[in-house]
Symmetry: C2
């Protein structure tokens, strides 16, 4: 049962009558070996069931690996703070494997800060990078830089149309909208629903919610074709404005009760919701931010759809570690994550 894990390159060198050096050459396909020796070595390797010793290899190589995580600086309680919590420098097993995980943050509204963070990453000699493609064009540019330096990178959260990334971890956006609609309506043919949207800012950023909205609308078309669907736009920095807008809308449309938001900011509506309780109202939002989960607990929000940004980060780090340490390329490139349905009854263990 217990494999004799003691077979080393010395054993196979002795067995083949060649030297460690030669064995190493064939092990790494780095040429300069006669066809004959090559085959002999391979044969003995198979025969003896040789397996390389990771520690020795890594020790001898003497490289310190550092994986950079490039995400926006996070306001407390924000989506990106959640993502950042996936960086667990102390307990992540890749740390045990001798890889250092270093966050590099930037201002998500300042493309310049993004550029300079990328430069730092390269300057730090990172062996791999995890990043979220916040700035569309610039992401293309920096990943080309990474490629030029031979630095592999993984995307999280969303994924550009380029192709050089090692892996991607994110939520299936369209489907998440579909799921959201089902949770909002509970499969019933509801009368009306209000979509609350954030007044779009001008920072050449992609809007990750468009696909989600599309999924939502398609579901409604199929399952509740008569449902009246309206949109209002709010400014996240103007709480009173939000109240006013909701007051205004519902005064005019008393027949609509249900509310949905496609970004992580459903918590913005909590004050209004708390002031206008309605046991029949369904409210659905996204992402398990602290404030959103509180809203679930106090009953102002019915359902939250979560995507575990922390796990996305974690998995991306692992994929990179596997790659830089052992050269393993992930079997799939695109990893769509589970979508979590959170209610007040399962929110506690998140």
């Amino acid at each position: 049962m217990a494999q004799n894990q003691k077979i080393t390159i010395n054993d196979i060198a002795r067995r083949t009558g060649l030297s460690k050096g030669t064995v190493d050459r064939v092990l790494h396909n780095r040429g300069e070996v006669s066809r004959k020796s090559y085959e002999r070595v391979m044969e003995v390797i198979r025969e003896l069931g040789y397996e390389p010793n990771v520690y020795a290899s890594l020790l001898a190589k003497g490289k310190k690996h550092l994986i950079a995580v490039l995400i926006p600086a996070s306001d407390p309680g924000s989506f990106w703070e959640l993502a950042a919590s996936g960086i667990d420098r102390d307990t992540d097993p890749v740390t045990a494997a001798g890889v250092d995980i270093v966050p590099f943050s930037y201002d998500q509204y300042d493309i310049e800060s993004f550029r300079s963070a990328c430069a730092k990453v390269i300057g730090a000699g990172a062996s791999g990078v995890v990043l979220a493609p916040i700035f569309q064009g610039e992401t293309e540019a920096v990943t080309q830089q990474f490629a030029k330096h031979g630095i592999p990178y993984c995307f999280i959260d969303s994924r550009p149309d380029s192709n050089g990334y090692l892996a991607y971890f994110g939520m299936p956006l369209y489907k998440s909208g579909y799921l959201c609609a089902d949770q909002l309506t509970r499969g019933q043919n509801i009368r009306g629903a209000l979509i609350v949207r954030i007044r779009r800012d001008r920072y050449q950023q992609s809007d990750p919610t468009v696909n989600r909205r599309a999924g939502f609308l398609d579901y409604m078309l199929e399952h509740a074709p008569d449902c009246k669907i309206d949109n209002v736009f709010v400014d996240p920095n103007d709480p009173e404005g939000i109240d006013a807008i909701l007051d205004g809308y519902f005064a005019e449309h008393p027949e609509v009760r249900h509310i949905v938001m496609f970004n992580s900011r459903i918590h913005l509506l909590v004050p209004w919701l708390a002031a206008h309780p309605d046991p029949e109202r369904r409210v659905v939002g996204f992402d398990n931010l602290r404030a959103n989960m509180d809203a679930l607990r106090n009953g102002t929000v019915s359902v939250l759809i979560g995507q575990r940004p922390d796990e996305q980060v974690h998995l991306a780090i692992e994929a990179l570690a596997e790659y830089v340490l052992l050269g393993k390329v992930p079997p799939r490139k695109d990893h769509f994550m589970h979508m979590d349905v959170l209610t007040r009854y399962n929110v506690e263990d998140y």
Copy 2:
């Protein structure tokens, strides 16, 4: 920015005027060092920001670590097969850290096979064990064996009342029953519900569903006190019997429509459900077995509550690896996992 990761014990030996050996002694608190030297070394360590090189340490120790995963042999499509899928010998990063993960399986209906599997684990010189406490008394006995051999162990799935385990990963059972009730009723005051239970076998095994059932009943008491709740018992190996029992029950109780099961076998009801479609019926079960997920897709089951047994296994392995490799004890012992709510709209990415 780039830390000078080059500080080795040689550096600190030189700096203190002591030798590598002494430095190593203080590093590992293994005594035989004068108070004075100890403090001097510690001082320099801090000063220089020394960090040990994991590779070198592990290489020199020369230990092959093997983590044993002790779970029942899995029929295809069963709960334990799901759990076993958390053993990812090729891609798990702990493998990259040089730890071998080896499954040891046994017959969950044969306590003798469990005993002998445990013996094998010890015989194989395992550095750590992941196990599910299927057999109550015997689990106590074998964990004492593990302890005697200095082998740390983690529980998954459920947790005995003993105390020597390194960590536990499982679902909060009572809460899962509560959540289940909410999903079944959707918070509405339903008229009736049928609990389908497995005729209990006599193998001195614990019944993990009792807590779940308690949570379910408490929810119903609070939210739907008038709901009629019945139990029927079925034999998993007698499909026709199941049909007959359900036919019989619903003939007598046409006012009851909703169905719930607290174990992973809701798929047993699919034939009957498919033959008796009812768009108003809610059916809730547990665990994302392949057959259960298929039932979700074809609409015979409304909701599945999942607990990711594979992730439990994975996390337990990681915890053990951290411990045996780096001596890190998990900050918490008991880890209650997320409960996943699966519907046909989010089942695809599981």
